[in-house]
């Protein structure tokens, strides 16, 4: 057992890969929650994305087409949720949970013939010059397209929410839908778009799991990643930058414990596997007890149904 056996650069590179599904799914959910909707169906949308992406990827032989299919599948499932909670005005928590259960079941059914097949490869894109840098190059600049896109998406969501007028409107809808409605903003339409975006992002996150991270299809392969993504949104205080850090911490611990298992550290494997989840709980407890931001970033209308009253 030697801690030095762990290659630091490889560790960082693989933690980024491990975290990317979380970054994608959580970022989508952040936008959904900012618009005032709580979608607990992230896990379901991720696994549907994972299975659809995998199937299309295998059938077409292109991981990229698979990714696009994953996004569409996630978005389609989220449309079902949007219809139930926005048009039928059902309870968001119950509907979200149902979406997860439905997604897990449907994915198992769809994916059954594809168990054990290998997925098409996705190429890594080495950024010229930067990827040649020692250590840092290997850590950050030799990844696949999706990783770079996820980072751009983090910046994009931040810019959208804090700098753009439409982002301000979306936040306003999430803070107080009655006021937004009285000002003439279309609450339902904006939430529809936000939910669809969230679904597509969760789908891509799932697709990344089955096409790149694992890369194969096994039933229930998301293994709670959707729930971690939901926790990350709260952890981040609804801020994209912190969300990225949170996702990388979680991913980092996941990778670290795998490495520790591999080199045979004398800690019970059960405890090591628990570590990322424990860390998440710990982070959430610390944040809510420190009063640093806690629920202060939470949108005012989160989880509330909008009923048009004049």
């Amino acid at each position: 057992m030697d801690l030095l056996e762990i290659n630091f650069a490889v560790l960082v590179a693989s933690l980024i890969v491990a975290s990317t599904p979380l970054v994608l799914a959580a970022l989508g959910e952040l936008v959904v929650e900012k618009s005032g909707v709580l979608n607990l169906g992230v896990e379901g949308m991720m696994i549907i994305g994972a299975v659809s992406g995998f199937i299309v990827g295998v059938e077409t032989g292109s991981a990229y087409i698979g990714m696009i299919a994953a996004a569409i599948a996630g978005a389609l499932l989220s449309l079902l949720f949007a219809f139930i909670v926005l048009i039928m005005q059902a309870n968001q928590v119950a509907s979200g949970l149902a979406l997860t259960i439905f997604g897990l079941g449907l994915a198992a059914l769809m994916g059954h013939p594809y168990t054990g097949i290998k997925s098409p490869q996705i190429q890594t894109i080495s950024i010229p010059f930067l990827s040649d840098l020692p250590i840092i190059g290997q850590m950050f600049f030799q990844h696949d397209l999706i990783v770079y896109l996820s980072l751009i998406a983090v910046f994009g969501v931040w810019y959208f929410l804090s700098r753009m007028r439409l982002g301000l409107v979306l936040r306003a809808v999430g803070e107080d839908h009655d006021v937004a409605h009285s000002l003439g903003y279309r609450v339902i339409s904006i939430r529809f778009l936000a939910i669809t975006f969230g679904g597509a992002m969760a789908g891509v996150g799932g697709g990344y799991l089955s096409l790149v991270r694992v890369p194969q299809w096994t039933e229930g392969m998301t293994a709670g990643a959707g729930w971690i993504a939901l926790a990350l949104v709260v952890f981040s205080g609804w801020r994209p930058g912190r969300l990225l850090i949170g996702a990388y911490i979680f991913g980092g611990i996941t990778i670290l414990q795998l490495n520790l298992q591999a080199i045979g550290v004398n800690i019970n494997i059960a405890i090591l596997s628990m570590a990322p989840y424990l860390a998440t709980i710990l982070a959430l407890v610390l944040i809510s007890s420190s009063g640093l931001h806690g629920t202060r970033g939470a949108p005012g209308c989160l989880g509330k149904s909008f009923v048009k009253t004049v």
């Binding site: 306003a172 107080d176 937004a180 004049v310």
Partner: protein
């Protein structure tokens, strides 16, 4: 004839003809026609539920009329949404501000505009507007940290940026201090003098005769008529509005020496919330058959003081005696059992549970266990009778005792809460803002009930922002300013010139 019409229409900005609007069988507006002239401040007077809000919502495009037509600036006018209305030159400032509390004042202004405009030039424009109309506001502060007056200024700025020809103000003074009201009136008069018409909704008659050129009176959805408020007494206008004569309650006659019911004394109590007020050196007594009025602008410690009196907050350091026994450690329910009754300001969440029916709300504030049989079962007949008697006596508009509290409008729920507390025949009644948002007739009823219970021997603490109300029915008044309470003074000895100074924190007699 043609000439006549055209010369008339030159001075007309908005004309609503025979507007009808029905909500599930209830006529909110029936055949209402009003005409607002250019540069006119036009009052829309009426009780809660008279149809004022429905009418302005139709004008602002939030609702569409069932029938009837409107003309605005010499053109057909039928806005499908507030956006349409704003584009055509109608702005509106709501009674319940349509502001987002967690966002900054500037973001709120930005959200009120329909077009994407340059942020820098917008800042400039807002600055000039606020300077020329006396609408000072710190643009970077969060709405949640602003006073009601400042919030309203944000709303007005937002409306004015659209350069409206018609500005609708929905009960603008209901949340303002007298000083803020005066400021608002100046702003409105200046706007009108520069050509903006103002449709001013209110049920406060004094300000209407001071401010407005014309008043249209609505009652039960129908237009009663158009009057010149400067030529009519407030009382006459009020009676038109209500359709019956208004009684003016007199304060209880406290002649003989009466027993002390409650005495409160505290040196310093720090708030338990971040934005609370520290109460300092508060000492007062209240006796039988006496109404003690506690005035001052909301947010100066009223809420904190109320919580200490009701027992929602327990503080060992204060000295609070009820009928000479110490009650500082008793919780609200225990205090109620002793004969105290409370009607806090916040209707949903403090004085009533929104999701419970009115009957159930009577049951949970039943200290004397009137609605229980000896075995501890609920006596539903008694409970329903009591609830229905409150509903009837205080003219609460609701479908019945089984209606859930949150289905009532704020004013109606307030009537119910005050009625419920008064009906318990307490020895001490503490009410906070009893007539806030309640129409004139119901407000008179509530005041009458308060006076009546004082006359029957109860002590009353009346916390109110409404100066007229305090001077009208309380025997003594004291003012809360920044957590300090002025020495209670006999109401009849107070000169109106002293009140401003008392509210500003001076003691009676210390006036400049």
């Amino acid at each position: 004839m043609m000439n006549d019409l055209s010369s008339q229409s030159e001075n007309i900005l908005l004309q609503c003809s025979a507007i009808n609007k029905e909500f599930s069988g209830v006529k909110a507006n029936s055949n209402v026609s009003i005409t607002v002239g250019k540069s006119q401040i036009h009052a829309l007077l009426g009780e809660n539920g008279a149809g004022k809000s429905t009418l302005v919502k139709i004008i602002y495009g939030l609702l569409q009329p069932d029938s009837g037509t409107m003309r605005f600036s010499d053109a057909e006018y039928a806005p499908k949404s507030p956006k349409d209305a704003r584009e055509l030159g109608v702005g509106m400032v709501f009674q319940h501000f349509s502001l987002f509390e967690p966002l900054s004042a500037f973001d709120n202004i930005l959200l009120g505009l329909d077009k994407n405009i340059d942020v820098k030039s917008l800042r400039e424009e807002v600055k000039t507007l606020s300077e020329s109309y006396g609408l000072e506001v710190n643009l970077s502060s969060y709405i949640g940290d602003l006073s009601a007056g400042e919030r309203q200024r944000v709303e007005i700025i937002r409306a004015l940026l659209q350069k409206p020809k018609l500005l609708i103000m929905d009960e603008p003074t209901s949340v303002l201090t007298p000083f803020e009201c005066e400021k608002l009136f100046k702003t409105l008069k200046k706007l009108a003098s520069e050509g903006t018409s103002i449709l001013y909704i209110s049920h406060k008659l004094k300000e209407i005769s001071f401010l407005c050129d014309t008043a249209s009176v609505l009652r039960k959805g129908e237009l009663i008529g158009e009057y010149d408020p400067k030529k009519m007494t407030a009382k006459a206008l009020g009676e038109l509005m209500v359709g019956q004569t208004l009684s003016q309650p007199k304060r209880p006659s406290a002649t003989k020496k009466k027993n002390r019911v409650l005495s409160v004394s505290m040196a310093e109590v720090k708030p338990d919330t971040q934005f609370g007020v520290t109460l300092k050196n508060i000492n007062f007594d209240v006796h039988q058959s006496e109404i003690l009025g506690l005035g001052g602008v909301a947010g100066n410690g009223q809420e904190e003081l109320m919580q200490l009196i009701t027992g929602e907050r327990i503080d060992r350091s204060i000295d609070i005696k009820y009928l000479d026994s110490n009650i500082q450690l008793l919780n609200p329910h225990k205090r109620r059992e002793l004969g105290m009754a409370f009607a806090p300001e916040e209707r949903l969440g403090h004085s009533a549970v929104g999701s419970l029916s009115l009957s159930e709300n009577s049951l949970i504030t039943d200290p004397k266990k009137r609605f229980q049989t000896n075995l501890g079962f609920i006596d539903f007949d008694e409970l329903r009778n009591y609830t229905e008697s409150v509903i009837e006596k205080f003219n609460v508009k609701t479908t019945g005792a089984q209606a859930v509290a949150s289905s009532l409008s704020g004013g109606n729920l307030q009537k119910f809460v005050v009625g419920r507390e008064v009906g318990q025949r307490p020895s001490l009644l503490v009410v906070n803002q009893p007539t806030w948002g309640v129409d004139a007739l119901s407000a008179a009823n509530i005041r009458e009930a308060i006076v009546e219970i004082a006359n029957s021997g109860a002590a009353v603490i009346l916390i109110s922002q409404d100066l007229d109300e305090l001077l009208e029915i309380s025997n003594k008044v004291a003012f809360l300013t920044n957590g300090l309470l002025s020495i209670p003074t006999e109401t009849k000895n107070i000169k109106s010139s002293e009140i401003g100074a008392l509210m500003g924190g001076l003691r009676a007699g210390e006036t400049i």
